[in-house]
Symmetry: C2
Subunit: 246 residues, 2 copies
């Protein structure tokens, strides 16, 4: 395999944005932490690299990527996609378009932090149950203001894309489109009432989600065991008390 | 001027990481929103571009950069530095080193969000005074756990840099070093007691801060009116109740 992906084995999280790109391109990869420890893989293999012993360029956190033939580990989700985009044919060739795609991906990264912090506004190291009250306040603000701002921005980007294909960047599907699919899918899981209110105002994003989920390799992937289901330990969590009331 | 920087005129914020790179390189630039509106500049000029009317690749938020000869605006601080780094001679030439520098810069970006959220854990659109109680909880966790984790990580990166110059990347000063100077300076302003506890354990970062602040162009810049002072509307804010007790 050319690529080894390292990410927490029981949740989608940021690793999912990398998985979607590799899966859509039909690129084989090892999802190392989900493989058996007895084969020298699994969590022990990830934690060894994460501890930074004898590692050139140690990552601060997963996900990170090991590339065959390189001693260097590559971390930070948007940085990994910046690297993989051209190699997987998931970004236009022009340099300016690549900066633009990366800029959008970094905006998605900011958005994802805000989604995470709806249920963890005080500390990543505490349980949700220890920060329920501020979580409710933060979520109310997220659903009423921040979510609308992000959705509106990306809807505008789709409708003003001179490539006119219904995607975010250029004329063909990009890694940014794949990440946006994940955002919409995750937001539907976490905030179903809020999203059912907001989706009719954002038809371009809904159409993009549907188009990505119907791509043959993505469709196969989503139905496979390689796709970790949404759950209550990921970034997108469904706590009904954090969603808008029906 | 080759570059026009657009950022909120009364605070350092993320724009400061771009300013430090331009200043260190001796590259002239217009800090547009701080210039007179009557000359067609100032906040009105920034807000016009931010509204996205007739703009190719509209930004989600400041800072953004306009480059002479390009219609495209470049946004997202780390993306701007990815673009400027090679042009200002502030990153090594090897592609692998550039991904590494960018990876570190994105980790600084994550850290900066956590600093911001110490005083705004609930909503960016509310005043600090409306979220003081959760701010105190978040700050306590930040000072006790997250800050140590980030400082320890970057201290290790300095001490294991094969370039051995006391910097984070390669053998010469990089834009990542300049951003790290800003982190240390800002943390000292916001959390003076916590930092005086932690600094002795992170001599490499302290030495890096001192070395950057003594660079002639940076020294000149810091003493000029172009440097916005730290204040209570930036990312780094000094609320004594959020710092560790003396």
């Amino acid at each position: 395999m050319r690529y080894e992906l390292y990410y927490w084995p029981t949740l989608q999280g940021r690793g999912e944005l990398v998985r979607l790109a590799l899966e859509d391109a039909g690129e084989g990869y090892l999802d190392v932490a989900r493989l058996p420890a007895r084969a020298g893989l699994g969590m022990p293999a990830m934690m060894r690299l994460l501890s930074g012993e004898a590692v050139a360029c140690p990552p601060f956190a997963p996900p990170f990527l090991r590339i065959a033939g390189s001693k260097q580990l590559l971390a930070q989700t948007a940085n990994i996609l910046l690297f993989l985009g051209p190699r997987l044919g998931l970004v236009p060739k022009r340099e300016a378009s690549r900066f633009w795609a990366h800029q959008l991906q970094l905006t998605i990264a900011d958005w994802l932090v805000e989604v995470h912090d709806t249920h963890h506004p005080i500390a990543v190291g505490l349980y949700y149950e220890e920060q329920k009250r501020p979580a409710k306040q933060r979520s109310a603000n997220f659903c009423a203001e921040r979510l609308t701002k992000y959705l509106g921005y990306f809807e505008k980007i789709i409708s003003s894309n001179p490539g006119w294909n219904g995607g975010l960047v250029g004329r063909a599907t990009s890694y940014v489109d794949l990440s946006m699919f994940q955002m919409i899918a995750g937001l539907r899981y976490a905030f179903p009432h809020t999203m059912s209110e907001l989706e009719p105002k954002h038809p371009g994003l809904v159409a993009l989600h549907d188009r990505i989920s119907a791509r043959p390799r993505i469709d196969t992937y989503l139905k496979s065991k390689r796709r970790v289901p949404f759950n209550q330990s990921g970034i997108f969590r469904h706590y009904p008390e954090l969603d808008l009331p029906r």
